[in-house]
């Protein structure tokens, strides 16, 4: 990796965006890289917008980056992914779960965003891989492991880190009773990612 890779993670509090960013950071360090993540904790369990930054490279100092600097956008929810889209650079890749959580502010105005228009926005100017992450996670036996599916797809597409390190990282961040199904969700995501890697 000759330069710093910037990854933005967009989610709704409670979906496991922080676990995803932590898994990436642990795996990156295991692979010998320098890493910084930028996140704000403390309100993250509470159904609000959560945005994490992960930066991986030979020598990293800053925990955050600016608009147009993300190489990857990992999204666990469509509205939050569109909100974070300005971070993605031209030619960057978005890996986004097809989950929609309609915010209260939209319901109160009867202005709920639609899945098709959110996906259109995500694919309009960037390469976006829309993943049925919840379904894959449910089929793997762990409905809460959509974050691990997205991690798998990301790795399948990018090959950024080693699978060995990612698996070790997952075993460090996921509690024992959920580990097997989380690992399965990651594996299924990995397969999905590899299968779409060559699609332009």
């Amino acid at each position: 990796m000759s330069r710093i890779v910037n990854i933005a993670i967009a989610s709704v509090g409670g979906q496991g965006g922080l676990t995803l960013s932590r898994a990436l950071a642990i795996a990156a360090v295991l692979d010998g890289y320098s890493v910084r993540t930028g996140e704000t904790l403390g309100m993250s369990q509470r159904f609000g917008s959560v945005l994490s930054y992960v930066r991986i490279g030979k020598r990293v100092f800053s925990p955050t980056f600016s608009t147009g600097e993300a190489d990857f956008l990992l999204g666990l929810e469509l509205v939050e992914s569109v909100r974070a889209l300005p971070l993605l650079r031209d030619g960057g890749v978005a890996v986004v779960a097809d989950t929609l959580k309609i915010p209260i502010s939209a319901s109160l105005e009867k202005m709920s965003p639609r899945v098709d228009e959110l996906i259109r926005e995500l694919t309009r100017r960037s390469r976006a891989v829309i993943v049925p992450a919840s379904k894959i996670a449910r089929d793997a036996g762990n409905p809460r492991a959509a974050n691990m599916v997205v991690l798998g797809v990301f790795q399948g597409i990018s090959g950024l880190l080693t699978e060995t390190s990612l698996r070790k990282a997952i075993s460090e961040v996921v509690p024992g009773k959920w580990l097997e199904t989380s690992m399965k969700a990651f594996d299924e995501g990995l397969k999905y990612g590899v299968s779409v890697r060559t699609v332009p």
Partner: protein, 623 residues
């Protein structure tokens, strides 16, 4: 799961800044560690609890920051190594004993973690606690990365013992909450008390001549602080690069400076401070020698800028200084690479004014905001809904009864649709500010809402004040039996603490009763009609009335009991939105003309069903 706090020396692992500080406490041999939860400082003690520490180490939350500091100070004057953690406003709560501690000093090392929050992300103000150095006359050190956070924590104990002064470890959110690679050092055995040596002039502040003498001693210690820091700390004040253009920086801001200088490929002198107080004048004099232009890059106040200007004035230097006072760096908010780049390029002619990554972002589809709401099933929501209905049943309009809020999850009720609280100020202020309104002549009823942990922390004295002065008010204590907002820490009502320690529960109602309020009632807010009725009655009643709204935090309850879930009967739902407008519950959403309930998020409180005029919400089944 992997236990980073027990990993061996020499291993390089990913740690969050706060975990690195926790590891630093163990590597330094701290034996008394306490504090009060507050973002972004909470994970230090939380991670020690999560991963477990030896029973030789006391790691417990205290009732507030002041008590926490005094516990740690008491341990340190008995020779133990002690640490205390708090967010910025907590340092203000503890300020009285912190300032006095500089006069008595310590025997065992004492490190005070104060976590500031440029942004702000989760704090009421952008308070700059570097000023604590000048105010309390205590050494202040600051790290820029998780690695430095750990290493500087260890050094801070050694410096503290050498100078016999508490040391303030001052951090910011982007260090506390950043995960980075950290090389671990050896863990030292905990240093407990070796006995308390009686020394009245040193530890009794009642003698004014003793105080004057201790002040002289303190100033002498500060005179040698820079030398002691240089000798002990592996995290140093540094100079990187060379040139007549110089950037002075510290902490998280250094990271942006370092990357921008590398990106621009320019030759500048980067001076980074790790010791912030006393200002390292010897180091700065040398580091700034020959500089013609100095840009100070720092977050929050122009602290270093004033330090540098004062030093240059004393040296008769004519170097130009840029920073927050000159407008090169904003006075508010947190810094970024972009802001630092702009400041540097505008001062350095010939550098590209914007790097390629600063291209205008694509115009994205506008999406609705998602501020943090109260969680589905939150008992606070039920309490507020009952309060708003109770106010109108008591014959008042919502806008006629001021609701003084306090600090905790229940302040999230300021968001639509509830918009229930009118103030959120500082810990415990709900009751005292409500009293202020009444003694100023406010004629109608007033309500104060305070959480259980905030009540223990700073609400008991205000309640005594209100009772003692016979001020009419309704005080709602929203008791969910936990410090919920900062990650579910223990309260004095717990019988077994996170550490496993057995404790004697101190119950909210017992305290309220002992204070002598005119009326006390405890209601489960899930019993919504009983709660509405209680509000209606108590708003009209004279005296100091306390209504304890008691129900466990829904997030915790959902983990421990089987859930009932609700669903919307499509044929009956008219899309009137009554459920959403009354509750604002994030498990409800409007789509295609109807309301639906997210089965993943509903915890079955039933509040929405109670307020559906068409009986269109029913129990979907138990899990």
């Amino acid at each position: 799961m992997f236990n980073p706090l027990k990993a061996p020396e020499g291993v390089r692992i990913a740690l969050m800044g706060n975990e690195a500080i926790a590891r630093g406490f163990l590597e330094a041999g701290a034996s008394v560690i306490t504090g009060y939860p507050g973002t972004p400082s909470s994970e230090v003690i939380t991670s020690l609890h999560e991963y477990g520490v030896s029973s030789e180490i006391f790691v417990e939350w205290a009732i507030n920051e002041r008590v926490a500091f005094e516990i740690a100070y008491g341990a340190a004057i008995c020779g133990a190594r002690a640490a205390v953690t708090m967010k910025a406003p907590g340092a203000s709560v503890a300020l009285d004993p912190i300032v006095s501690s500089a006069y008595g000093g310590v025997e065992g090392g004492l490190v005070v973690l104060v976590a500031d929050d440029p942004g702000p992300h989760t704090t009421q103000t952008e308070q700059d606690d570097r000023w604590l150095g000048f105010l309390a006359k205590l050494p202040v050190v600051t790290p820029s990365s998780p690695q430095e956070a750990k290493d500087l924590t260890v050094s801070a104990f050694d410096i503290s013992e050498e100078l016999k002064l508490p040391v303030i470890l001052r951090t910011t959110t982007r260090v506390n909450h950043t995960v980075g690679e950290v090389l671990l050092g050896p863990v030292r055995p905990p240093k407990r008390t070796a006995g308390f040596v009686k020394d009245i002039p040193r530890f009794v502040r009642a003698g004014m001549s003793w105080n004057l003498e201790r002040h002289r001693w303190l100033n002498k210690q500060l005179d040698i602080a820079e030398d002691v820091f240089d000798r002990i700390s592996p995290v140093r004040n540094t100079v990187e690069g060379s040139g007549r253009f110089c950037v002075v920086t510290e902490g998280a801001a250094y990271n942006y400076v370092r990357e921008v200088v590398d990106e621009l490929g320019i030759e500048v002198r980067v001076v980074k401070l790790s010791l912030l107080f006393p200002p390292p004048r010897k180091f700065l004099t040398e580091a700034l020698d020959g500089c013609s232009d100095i840009l100070v890059v720092e977050e929050l106040d122009p602290y270093l800028e004033l330090v540098v200007k004062s030093l240059l004035k004393d040296r008769g230097s004519t170097a130009r200084v840029y920073g927050k006072v000159s407008g090169s760096i904003p006075l508010e908010g947190e810094l970024s690479r972009g802001l630092v780049r702009r400041a540097m390029t505008s001062l350095l002619p010939g550098t590209p004014s914007s790097a390629p990554q600063e291209v205008q972002p694509r115009q994205a589809l506008k999406v609705p905001p998602r501020p943090p709401p109260m969680c589905p099933g939150c008992p606070h929501r039920s309490m507020y809904v009952a309060m708003l209905i109770g106010i109108s049943r008591a014959g008042y309009k919502r806008g006629e009864v001021p609701v003084f809020g306090d600090i905790g999850c229940y302040a999230l009720a300021s968001q639509p649709p509830l918009e229930a609280i009118w103030t959120e100020h500082s810990m415990g202020a709900s009751i005292s500010m409500a009293m202020g309104a009444k003694v100023a002549g406010f004629r109608g009823p007033v309500i104060a809402v305070i959480g259980d942990s905030t009540f223990y922390h700073a609400g008991i004295q205000p309640l005594i004040e209100a009772v003692h002065k016979r001020v009419d008010m309704l005080v709602v204590i929203a008791d969910n039996s936990v410090v919920a907002m900062t990650g579910h820490q223990s309260t004095p009502a717990w019988s077994t603490l996170e550490s496993g320690r057995k404790a004697r529960p101190v119950i909210v109602e017992d305290i309220v009763r002992a204070v002598g309020v005119d009326y006390l009632e405890v209601v489960d807010p899930y019993d919504i009609d009983k709660m509405i009725n209680a509000f209606e009655r108590l708003i009209k009643q004279p005296g100091v009335k306390v209504l304890v709204s008691k129900h466990p935090c829904a997030l915790l309850e959902a983990r421990s009991r089987s859930l009932r879930r609700y669903r919307v009967i499509d044929e009956k739902c008219t899309g009137c939105l009554a459920c959403i407008k009354v509750t604002g519950c994030p498990a409800l959403f409007y789509e295609n003309g109807k309301v639906s309930i997210s089965a993943d998020d509903c915890v079955g409180c039933g509040l929405c069903a109670r307020f559906c005029p068409y009986k269109a919400i029913e129990v979907a089944g138990n899990e």
